[in-house]
Amino acid sequence: MTTDFSTTQRQNFKGILVIFLMDLVKRIKQNIFAFLPLLSSNIRQNYWEYIVTGFVLLIVLQLLYSYKSYLNFKFHIQDGRFFLRQGVFKFTDVDIAFDRIQNININQNLIQQMLNVVGFEIETAGQGKAEITIKALSREDAIDLKRILLENKTEKFAENNNSEVTAEVSTKPKLLFHLNLKRLLKVGISSNYLKGLGLVFAFFATLFQYIEDIFSNFFEVDFGETYVNQIPETLGYIAGFVVFIIAAAFIVTVATSVIKYFELKVTKVDNEFEVDYGLFKRINQVIKKSKTQVFEVEQNPIKDLFGIKNIFISQASSEELSNKKKIGIVGVSNDEINTMFQSLFDVPYDQEFVIRQSSFRLMFRLMTRYSILGLGIGIGIYFWQNLVISLVVFTVLISVFSIISYKTVKKSHIGVNENLIKIHSGSIHTNMKYIATHKIQSLALKRNWYQQRNQHADLLIYTASGDERINYLKYEEALKIIDFLNYKVESSQLSWI
């Protein structure tokens, strides 16, 4: 049973529920502050009838709205174009020619997984926001539709230059990389714990009152009074708390990476890569050679120990690219990096670069910033606790920051050769970004008042997926690099997309 997409189609019938639930979640997220008064028991007791009626009314309205938006959401295919009409109070008509379609993503979030439908996203080229999201299709329909949209595109293309494409179409999808659970755990263990730590702190800051109660019962320590008398217990309390926080951060970090990258698979189809990952939300993304702008390789000491690296690929985008939108392929080995790199850039991963290092003066800039931060924290702790603790914390912070700045400066450099730019950065971790020279959009040199006097400059490279910055290069060298890159862009016949 195949669906005929040339007649007008609605979404899968379960779409009503999907739309309703997704809209509901969105509304709750948007209006989370409206629930704040409910925290007061006074309001809860006095007005609960109104609250319940209000909620029921809103939910019914939302259900009607979602139902209407399901009814009005209609799409069909005709003459190599995809047509969509949607809206509740006002209608939007979208019309996309197949050959304008850049990417098709098939996703499944938790709600869609429960109802056994998939989300379908059509992405078009860099400009404008003509992107289409169909919230509920059966998996078969989605795969069918994707095949039709992409097939017609290649057919049309094949008419223009026959010989080249037929060879490409015949290649079978080939599984390039599959992340097993063992390696995924390694990825989790070697991740940056700061994010996990942040989450844990945010969580406990809200629950601090409860935690304090539990802990003081447990250790039988009363915070305020026995602070001085029972120093050993207090220290024990603090040590216990620190260990607890670190353990929690560890677990949270590992869990988030496992949930995010569960069953990561990379398949090679023709000249593109398809990436699938996620435990609760299954995400399917396509990496296109032409759309790829930045190829990022990340490593850190623990990852080196495990022999794994992470790759992040940024594709051309009309919006400011957040880290979330980068396509992450984590836990890969050197061989797999070579394969990916080779097929995306047509040159081997091992490249000779002419390297230009950031000046050591960058250290002053970083330390100035860190000192202000350290001073702020130190002064805060001075008012909260006392001078001794504040001085100790300040000293520790400054020494940690000095090491980080030193490493940052050491690792900051740019490499240039005939085809590629390599931007090397990082502090504890190491980050290497590769950009093909013809993918540069524009270039800039920035010099602050101080740099204008000591003959240094920051180099900015703008691509269709964000900006890259190399700090504190010697002015003369920065000029040479910018002239060279500019020459490469202007003399190249290759397009950025």
Binding site: L321, V416, Q441, A444, N448, W449
Partner: protein, 172 residues
């Protein structure tokens, strides 16, 4: 001298963007900038004074705010007045160059063939002084776009024509 592998061209023979003779933007733009900063200074300082008159701010709050505002405006005014002579644009056969700034001096190069579209616009104050802003959009985020404010009608037209001409040539 940068020693590139597989060298096919001499680096010192490459066109050097820093030697390009720049054109200044229209003097009227300096007037506009002056009007704008005087306007904002008047509004903020008088606002602070009025607030102080009615609410009677404590000296701990009033003087730091006053000091902060004064220093901020001093820096802005210095940046505008000293930076104006440096506000220049250059036209080359294949790219557009723009530079500006006193405290932070920024030079941007945008190749014509990476420009997606051009926009010439005119705000309310600009209209009174007959000057325009030319924006050249590139793909991707907006931070790499080039915006040249304070062009007179002639320059804006010439620039736009030049960009469109080169873009057309590339198409054929």
């Amino acid at each position: 001298m940068i020693d590139f592998q597989n060298q096919t061209l001499n680096i010192s023979d490459l066109p050097r963007f820093e030697t390009v003779e720049g054109h200044r933007v229209d003097k009227a733009y300096l007037k506009v900038l002056r009007i704008l900063y005087v306007f904002w200074a008047l509004i903020l300082f008088s606002g602070l004074l009025v607030l102080n008159y009615f609410v009677d701010l404590p000296a701990m709050a009033f003087f730091p705010i006053l000091g902060f505002l004064s220093i901020l405006f001093l820096l802005i005014i210095l940046d505008i007045e000293l930076g104006f002579p440096r506000r220049k644009f250059g036209i080359r056969a294949k790219d557009l160059i723009f530079q500006k700034g006193y405290f932070v001096f920024k030079q941007t190069i945008v190749p014509y063939k990476r420009i997606q579209h051009v926009e010439v616009k005119q705000g309310l104050v600009f209209k009174a002084f007959k000057i325009y802003t030319l924006k050249a959009y590139t793909a991707g985020s907006s931070s790499g776009d080039l915006s040249i404010a304070g062009l007179n009608h002639n320059d804006a037209d010439k620039l736009k024509a030049q960009i469109l001409k080169v873009a057309d040539l590339d198409d054929n």
